[in-house]
Symmetry: none
Subunit: 207 residues, 4 copies
DNA sequence: TATGAATGAGAGTTCATTCAT
DNA sequence: GATGAATGAACTCTCATTCAT
């Protein structure tokens, strides 16, 4: 028996789990959770449907592991930003950049989250989604409010509307983003920030 | 002769169909198409599952009718805007406003479209979704290009990115919009346009 | 109000019934009883499925009326032959000829009978099918036995086998017979009788 | 080492399929394909309806496998006869004998074929039925024609009528034949051939 | 670890039948 | 006589899950 079995990559068993979860996430993202059969995941992974149950309790537990894994990493990044003591504008910039990085690394999980979270939040098992949403909203709303207060952001904003605007604008990108494309996540973040912060209108309006 | 005989309710047969489609759309939007059972729709409509098949060929044909009905109305509005000979900026403003009006009138259909269109486009039956998407892209991209050319929009925009930005930004609103709320569609459109066109940053950056 | 309404064709109501039964018989024969939907019959007859229930109690009662109507006419013809006091060979000839006449007049009913009688006989409602079969077997077997006894038929016949041979040979013709073709029923009967009685082999065997 | 390892039971997976197909064939033959529920087959086989779908794609694919399996074996036998270079009369004798052997081995499949082929031929999936029918007709008609030409068969025959006569006469036997009865297939074939070739009439007509 | 076979609940759909109008 | 709408039972089929091997 291995002595350091708690490490992630060191454990071959964990390696297999990850592979299977990655496969499952890809299929969930493409077809939707409900429309995905356990058989399809197994096919894609090269084993039989029943064999997946050696690794996971249920289809739902795969989904759970995918989403919670993603959220854990997301909050590691977000918390680092929020704890850095940046100004409102720089915080928004950092959060948006971090978000695109997460989309880059967890595209499938993000896509699943977008499609499925609305009805998952009603299930006790996925209570952490509600917690995450609340924390998320608090972080963004708070930053926007601070920014309006100190003049970083326009005073005439409907804050809740602006929050939804920025939030959706960023995350929906997961629906079309393909890792390894021409733009790096940071590059996309920069362009998005440019549009969100300064708008798309020309400085000198057309005659 | 009645003065209001041109209204939809004049045809009782079509009235029932509409009611049932509205019910189905609501459930599809809430639970997702795949996760929605025909029995659930029937329950909600107050009849038995089998009875729905007197009115519709299949669950899929309900979805079809909902989406095509929505797109028909959408394009009536869009075409009116596109044929009006407006400048690029005014066109974008009119399209965004029209979009929020459609979200107001077809909230469920829009939500369904957002969630399901990605895999529906692969089915021949829903080929019109592809057509619509192409036409949609052409209208928005073209307007943005014209606007960059005449200085209405910033010259340094990545046009495709800007297109996705505006497109998603508007339509995702269907996921949280509730008709009859405090903001009218036109009011929301105005605020969105303000953010999209001029950004959320303050004019005088914070010290 | 008509004074002689008890006659068959005189009563317009009966006329409608007959039309509908003829339509139903045609569809039953083509598709099989089970595979035929009441809606299909109604379509073919130019009314709605529910409306058939003004004329008939049930789908099964249509089948019943078709089969019993056919058997009534069949036995009128058969009884006339059997009561005519003919010799065995002439009796067989007359029965076969009469059978082809019935196939000509009741093709659909005969086809239905062939396909469905086997499982219908188990239902009490169709008990008359069993009676008819018994009477049928008695008539044919008896005639064959008489014929063997008086030398009309070969002495080395397995009578039961010969009975099945003649019976099937005749009635299966309903599966390909089309009224109004080049051969009259009497002509077909003559050719069949020639084969059944004298065989298809050449008189002088080929070297 | 087992001496009979070449038998079908050597492959356990195929063994189960065969069992299930045999059960299905029996029920289809008895009740008719349409009237047979998948549940009934499952009951008869001792498992649940859904479990059948582990082995077969659909009810229709069971039917398909039953019929194509039967036709494959039938044509193996027929082709051997047709390739043997026999004279017309001997060919007919061999084909009839082979047919009764097939009825003996595939009674259920033959009965199903008789009842269902007429509407199955319209479905593309069962196109091979049409092919088989054409080949069948060609083989029998050709043999009869050759026989008329060389005097083996009567010159005054309507060939098509004779073809149908022989064809039906043989295959309808599947509707009453029960394997393991008093007559072997070869014995029945001999008696049938005697009737078909030489007729049932006595040599010396009754005075 | 993985397979092959089965389970059982529930899905979408069909259809004979009913009945108020 | 016929329609339009609905019923309710049954059907074929799907699928997450289990378990002996």
């Amino acid at each position: 028996m291995p002595t350091n079995s708690k490490k992630t990559t060191a454990n071959p068993a964990h390696g297999r789990r990850r592979e299977l979860l990655a496969t499952a996430a890809e299929v969930f993202a493409t077809q939707g959770y409900n429309a995905t059969t356990v058989r399809r995941i197994a096919d894609e992974a090269g084993l039989l449907a029943g064999s997946l149950y050696y690794h996971f309790d249920s289809k739902e537990s795969m989904l759970d592991e995918i989403l919670s894994g993603f959220l854990d990493e997301l909050w590691t990044g977000y918390d680092a930003v929020l704890d850095a003591g940046l100004g409102p504008r720089e915080t928004i910039e950092a959060l948006v950049t971090e978000s695109f990085r997460e989309i880059d690394r967890h595209r499938a999980a993000v896509a699943i989250y977008q499609k499925e979270s609305r009805h998952l939040v009603t299930q006790p098992r996925f209570g952490y989604l509600v917690d995450s949403q609340r924390k998320f909203e608090k972080a963004w709303l708070g930053t926007l409010e601070r920014g309006v207060a100190d003049g970083s952001f326009r005073a005439d904003l409907d804050i809740r509307l602006a929050y939804r605007f920025v939030r959706d604008t960023v995350w929906v990108a997961a629906s079309w983003y393909r890792p390894g494309g021409t733009h790096s996540p940071e590059e996309i973040a920069r362009q998005y920030l440019s549009m969100v912060l300064d708008g798309i209108a020309g400085r000198e309006p057309a005659a």
